[in-house]
Amino acid sequence: MIGFTTLLYKEVLRFWKVGFQTVAAPVITALLYLLIFSHVLETHVKVYETVSYTAFLVPGLVMMSMLQNAFANSSSSLIQSKVTGSIIFVLLPPISYQAFYLAYVLAAVVRGISVGVGVLLATLWFAPLQFVAPLWIIVFALLGGAIMGSLGVIGGIWADKFDQLAAFQNFLIMPLTFLSGVFYSIHSLPPFWQQVSHFNPIFYMIDGFRHGFFGVSDVSPWHSLVVVSVCFVLLTTLTLVLLKRGYKLRA
């Protein structure tokens, strides 16, 4: 237990020590997205009757920032320690692979939520928000963060160099997060792309999360919860199997 809490503490301390880069920078980026998109589209786009476009945008940006940073936390920590060799400090001690998984994923969730809260606080000035069903907000934030934290662990142990991890991030994570309804409702898309969006699990994370704020969403939050939970279970299982085998960690 102490091994687990220490690894979790070390992972949180690691990103906290470079907080400008890991928390403040993504908050500023999200704020810039909000300023630009709301300036251009506020008067042109109305997704839901009762919700202004800027208000609609805020939960999407919060969730997108949380997801990207949760992924970045576990993946960058692992690839850095693999490339520098300091990974042995966590491989030599008697830490079980389950504790290893939990520590990296929870630290990723903590970073995701820190960034998410930062974005929420920074954007509060720009749009009146509602918190209709806070439990949905919490459930989707936690599950989304954990899924991306797991994906980060997989990416971090799979990649042998920074270049490969950058490819994982730029060709998989970024398109999935950007094309998930952060900036629009998928109902505004042509039917084909609406169908495609339904295969993107991040769409459900953002849609369910947004439901917690406004009480309206593109699909039922229960439907989103099932999809997101299944993704979580599958990715957790895959990550645990890889860690148990010591894939690319123990020769």
Binding site: M1, I2, G3, T5, T6, L7, Y9, K10, L13, R14, K17, V18, S81, T84, G85, S86, I88, F89, V90, L91, L92, P93, P94, I95, S96, G246, R250, A251
Partner: protein, 308 residues
């Protein structure tokens, strides 16, 4: 008594390279054991296997009776490994690094833990650097922190993989003083090094590895006795030649003739023989047996039965 390390029929292959080709070895508790061999002999792979960083193709390794795979948690608590590579986590200070390492091994924050960290820091001359970030340390200081990290959980078995590669004399002396003390206190030490004079002065028993096999295993004293000897080292004057009887026994390297002998009372007859044939000398010294000599002979395959 349970061996500190028990290695049974251990094999490991990386692609086409047979890194470990059936190693059998016991290290007894309290020993200062040397693991020697040329680069690529399998020393680091063997250490990595006992530390759980490498999974074996076959065979078993136990540390104080705990299997490194089946009972990995207990096995890892018993061993502290100083890695060969100079690795560090750039985010933390020296004290943070050691505190974190303690926590990984399940040691609670307490006065006892802090006191031991202070003692390790002091013994490795790191006290003044406790608050310094790892990035700001010199190579030698980073090496000291690596040693400290391996010792924070007070492991009964300490494995040092080339700990003095590229470090200054001061650190070597500080390090060996500390490690000797730990050995006297009952810790088992396993050392790999390319500095054979270090191994000779520190290790009580030595295994030599070549191409993943143990090619020599004995006490340091026995190895020296069997594969090396005292020798009369002579540099002859110009035009001087050794008498044929001595020339047969001598080994000539870089103009120096080495004539081995077993007892010191054999020196006088040797000198008499040289004098009687008018052989003039420029230099003369008595060479002691050394491990380098043993190493070279064993690696050339002149070991006979070097396993005991």
């Amino acid at each position: 008594m349970t061996p500190a390390i028990s290695i049974r029929q251990v094999t490991k292959r990386f692609g086409s390279v047979q890194a470990l080709a059936g190693i059998d070895l016991n290290v007894q508790q309290g020993e200062f054991f040397g693991l020697l061999g040329p680069n690529g002999a399998g020393k680091t792979t063997l250490i990595s296997a006992l530390a759980g960083l490498v999974r074996l193709d076959s065979g078993h390794i136990e540390i104080l009776g705990c299997d490194v795979v089946a009972d990995y948690r207990n096995a890892r608590r018993q061993v502290g490994v100083v890695p060969q590579e100079l690795v560090f986590d750039p985010f933390f200070s020296v004290r943070e690094t050691l505190n974190i390492q303690c926590g990984y091994f399940g040691i609670r924050q307490s006065r006892g833990r802090d006191a031991w960290i202070d003692e390790v820091l002091e013994n490795l001359d790191l006290t003044a650097k406790a608050k310094a970030n790892m990035r700001s340390l010199s190579g030698g200081m980073k090496r000291r922190v690596l040693v400290a990290q391996a010792l924070v959980h007070r492991p009964p078995v300490i494995v040092l993989d080339e700990p003095t590669a590229g470090v200054d004399v001061e650190l070597r002396q500080t390090l060996w003083q500390f490690i000797r003390r730990l050995n006297r206190d009952g810790h088992t030490i396993v050392l790999t090094t390319h500095y054979l004079e270090e191994a000779e002065s520190l290790c009580t028993r030595i295994a030599m590895l070549k191409a993943g096999r143990v090619v020599a295993l004995d006490t340091t004293a026995n190895l020296l006795q069997r594969f090396s000897a005292h020798a009369l080292r002579l540099r002859l004057s110009q035009d001087a030649r050794l008498p044929p009887a001595l020339a047969q026994r001598a080994e000539i390297k870089e103009g120096v003739c080495s004539i081995p002998f077993e007892r010191f009372d054999q020196i006088e007859p040797l000198l008499a023989e040289l004098r009687s044939c008018g052989c003039h000398l420029d230099e003369l010294e008595i060479g002691k047996p050394d491990l380098e000599d043993v190493f070279v002979r064993v690696m050339r395959g002149q070991q006979g039965s070097a396993l005991s």
